[in-house]
């Protein structure tokens, strides 16, 4: 399992690695088990503190303040973790999901277009 955070500071800065267009995924895609599997698997690739903030805020739909209270951190820290978590998940999932909901490439190491 590769780490997505090697060499990065914990200040929330994150450089997106995938710039291809990702058109809206039809809601029906979630009926497909491989899409749901890809979403669950992608979460495991995040470090625990990013995963927690993301699950509370974006899966359980708590507010930033509620998330901060539960985790015992500041609102600013929640926002920092959310930023990293969301952009990392986007990078993990984009290569597979951008093309009509296919996930066959979802866990291929992300590429940097400028390299």
């Amino acid at each position: 399992m590769f780490s997505l955070t090697n060499g990065e500071d914990d200040d929330g800065s994150y450089v997106p690695k995938e710039f291809a267009d990702w058109r809206e995924i039809p809601s029906e895609a979630l009926e497909r088990s491989e899409i749901r599997g890809a979403l669950a698997k992608a979460l495991t690739l995040l470090e625990e503190h990013y995963r927690l903030a993301f699950i509370l805020r974006d899966v359980n739909e708590l507010s930033i303040t509620e998330t901060a209270n539960i985790l015992g951190i500041t609102r600013g820290a929640v926002k920092t973790r959310l930023r990293r978590a969301r952009l990392m998940l986007r990078d993990i999932l984009s290569p597979g999901l951008q093309q009509g909901g296919q996930v066959g490439l979802a866990f291929k190491e992300v590429r940097k277009p400028w390299e």
Binding site: D21, W22, E31, S33, G37, V59, I70, R83
Partner: protein, 206 residues
């Protein structure tokens, strides 16, 4: 273009949450109108959030409840004797290892074409005396209520912790009656609600 791409990436999450002041917001929107890369990042970020907010995204996979209740039943029958047959122990160890290797193992049930396409078939879940239950559940880290939930359940009190369901069962947790227990399995021979109720005391000391 007033701001750089780096500044946009720094603020994009706050933009989605509407946490920016109007001036910053306008600056980002002007940038998105001109920079297709950043517009793609915004689109993808919104897609990610929209997908995960759908209640189907992390719902337990098909057959989860049947396997869970079957596993609890099996655990109950073993719990009082505090011993596991060596072959069962080996199977259980294998199952736990597999579960630990894939913490959010819902993928195991559903992923047919991605990383772990065959693990489900290799798992001992088909064995009648050791139904493995894969998947990640949430427990309360600071409240010792010994209840586990599906990750999106609102009844996880306090700070949550996520662990493989097999580990939760082993540690004596019982399923949340709201998010897991309410789906009474129809399969013959699986645990009744009464059995699950007594499960906790049965395995706490095993």
């Amino acid at each position: 273009m007033g701001i750089t791409c780096e500044e946009v990436w720094r603020d994009i999450s706050d933009y989605v949450d509407d946490e920016l002041d109007p001036k910053q917001r306008t600056a980002l929107e002007e940038h998105f109108a001109e920079c297709r890369h950043c517009a793609a990042v915004l689109e993808g970020t919104c897609n990610v959030i929209r997908l995960y907010r759908d209640e189907r995204a992390l719902a337990p996979p098909k057959g989860f409840h049947d396997r869970l209740h079957e596993r609890l039943d099996q655990r109950l029958s073993q719990g009082s004797e505090e011993r596991i047959h060596p072959s069962r122990r080996a199977i259980l160890a294998w199952a736990l290892t597999a579960a630990a290797a894939v913490p959010l193992g819902f993928a195991l049930f559903s992923a047919r074409r991605i990383i772990l396409p065959r693990l489900e078939h290799q798992s001992p879940s088909g064995s009648p005396d050791s139904p493995a239950v894969m998947g990640l559940v949430a427990v309360s880290e600071d409240k010792d209520d010994k209840v586990f939930h599906i990750p999106s359940c609102r009844y996880v009190h306090g700070k949550p912790k996520f662990l493989p369901v097999e580990e939760a069962i082993r540690d004596g947790y019982s399923p949340c009656p709201v998010c897991i227990g309410k789906r009474k399995p129809e399969k013959k021979g699986v645990a009744s609600p009464e059995t699950i109720k007594t499960f906790k005391s049965g395995v706490n000391h095993s």
